[in-house]
Amino acid sequence: MNYINKGNKPTKTGFGEGVLAAAQQDSRVVGLGADITNSVGMNFFAEAFPDRFFSMGIAEQDCVATAAGLALSGKIPVFSTYGVFAAHRANDQIRISVCYNNVHVVIGGAHAGVSVGPDGATHQALEDMATMRVLPDMTVISPCDATQAKIATEKAILECKGPVYVRFGREAVPDFTAENQGFEIGKAQLMREGNDITIVATGHEVWEALEAAKILEQKNISARVINMHTIKPLDGEILMKAASETRMIFTVEEHQIIGGLGSAVAEYLSENHPIKVVRIGMNDRFGESGQASELMHKFGLDAEGIVNRVLREWA
């Protein structure tokens, strides 16, 4: 897939634009706010449709239950907060009131990963994909940049039927995919061809993986890069092809290596096409304060970290 960095932009902005675009097309879309409306991208919607936006206060459990009630009455509720609070504080409400009812509620999980930066571990969502992925009927989307976040969010709201979790970040990161990218939920994108190894990445890590692939090319390692923007349902077809055409799979995510993308890929391939899968991500520890780039570097999640890990495993 062709791509060019159009400049840096936070994926949360893309999420907010996607909510607004969907709301302009469907009057059933309503929003719920838990006090942090601007920093989770809901401000565009709240300003454009004040009659359809409800301030619920710092009460995530109620937000989710209320969203379920709205959905049971024919609305399409969008509730966005930091991923740590959505996926963990309100987990039981998501499990029972949303998923067991199998209603169409779209949950935005902001502040994904250590790139949240100085706020530190309490606000860095690193286990949200694990706890959302395990819930029956839940769709989990983790777009790679702002453009994709907008398209994915709009589609999640207008096209999905059941519960959806959309994950996005705080930092301005390269916005590199095209508007007409033919995005489909559940269908991963081949970003770069390669025949030695495959790097399967999600979220902003797709950009880091592409940068890593360029460096690896100079070291005579041909790396395929896949953007696994949907963690559930997982695109097995593209993984089967990668497992049969390349010799080692690496997964990269701003998330624990337990339970997220790496686990999903390893689960799928161990059953369908056993091959070595190396999971790059947070290794069973919390994040910490620091600048986004410093943290990405410290935890081996930037291009350099990916390259180093590939060289170590490939040797």
């Binding site: 109620d62 209320t66 199998n102």
Partner: protein, 275 residues
């Protein structure tokens, strides 16, 4: 009122028979809510059992999912589905799951429940939606939402998040009913974790509060009408009830929270109901 008495007696029969057949379930709380459910479904709600999805209907959210038998029995008695189906309660493949499931689209059931503290939030979402839709889809009046909670459930923090939000959004089409039987699994509510002064708490959260005898039809009816007429705030009806009401030997005995009658006991209990 005689008619309601007969309905309530019949619903108690359905509950006891179904629980004895199921061999497990929650008898006490199911029985003590019968009188409230009877008045709600046979003398108050805008609903149509032949058209359970009618958009003008009022909605009932049973937040205490473990008292599912009273909801199922009332829906069956009202004609939402055949009463025979009560005998499938808790059995494999039944629409009458141990705790209500929305998956089977049981006619008249509005949401799943079973994890305490979530129903009020769900009901609040329904009430918000009804406010947005106004009277355009209804029977000329705004749709109302009723949420049945337990008293032990008041210990869940999420109840109070929803209580705050419902008052903030001035949802006068929302009415919560608390089954104040003063018992929970480990014993009396005030011993396990005191919730009194309950009425003061709800009043402080901005709700219109009413306290009634939850077994007196005329008090139940009057409270529901007062709730309908209250403007600008939601109403909570704290209904003093007797766990296990209707069968003397199990009344006020928390051993009967999660216990069911044997086939032998069932005969005695049904006999007692008819005296």
């Amino acid at each position: 009122m005689m008619d309601l008495q007969a309905k309530a007696k019949h619903i108690r029969e359905l509950i006891l028979t179904a629980l004895a057949e199921a061999g497990s379930g929650h008898t006490g709380g199911s029985l003590d809510l019968v009188d409230i459910f009877t008045v709600l479904y046979f003398n108050h709600l805008h609903h149509d059992p032949k058209h359970p999805d009618w958009e003008g209907r009022d909605k009932v959210v049973l937040s205490i999912g473990h008292t599912a038998p009273v909801l199922y029995a009332t829906l069956a008695a009202a004609g939402y589905f055949p009463e025979d189906e009560m005998l499938t309660l808790r059995k494999l493949g039944s629409r009458l799951q141990g705790h209500p499931s929305y998956e089977f689209r049981l006619p008249g059931l509005e949401t799943c429940s079973g994890s305490l503290g979530q129903g009020l939030g769900v009901a609040l979402g329904m009430a918000l939606a009804a406010k947005m839709d106004g009277t355009s889809i209804g029977s000329g009046t705004e749709n109302r939402v009723f949420c049945i909670m337990g008293d032990g459930e008041q210990q869940e923090g999420s109840v109070w998040e929803s209580a705050m939000a419902a008052a903030h959004h001035k949802l006068d089409n929302l009415c919560a009913i608390i089954d104040r039987n003063r018992l929970q699994i480990d014993g009396g509510t005030e011993k396990v974790m005191a919730i009194d002064p309950l009425r003061d708490k709800w009043a402080a959260f901005g709700w219109h509060t009413i306290e009634i005898d939850g077994h007196d039809f005329s008090q139940i009816k009057m409270a529901l009408e007062m709730a309908d007429n209250e403007k600008g705030k939601p109403t909570v009806i704290i209904a003093d009830t007797i766990m296990g009401k209707g069968v003397k030997s199990i009344e006020n005995n928390n051993q009967w929270h999660g216990k069911v009658p044997t086939k032998e006991q069932l005969k005695d209990f049904l006999h007692e109901l008819h005296q």
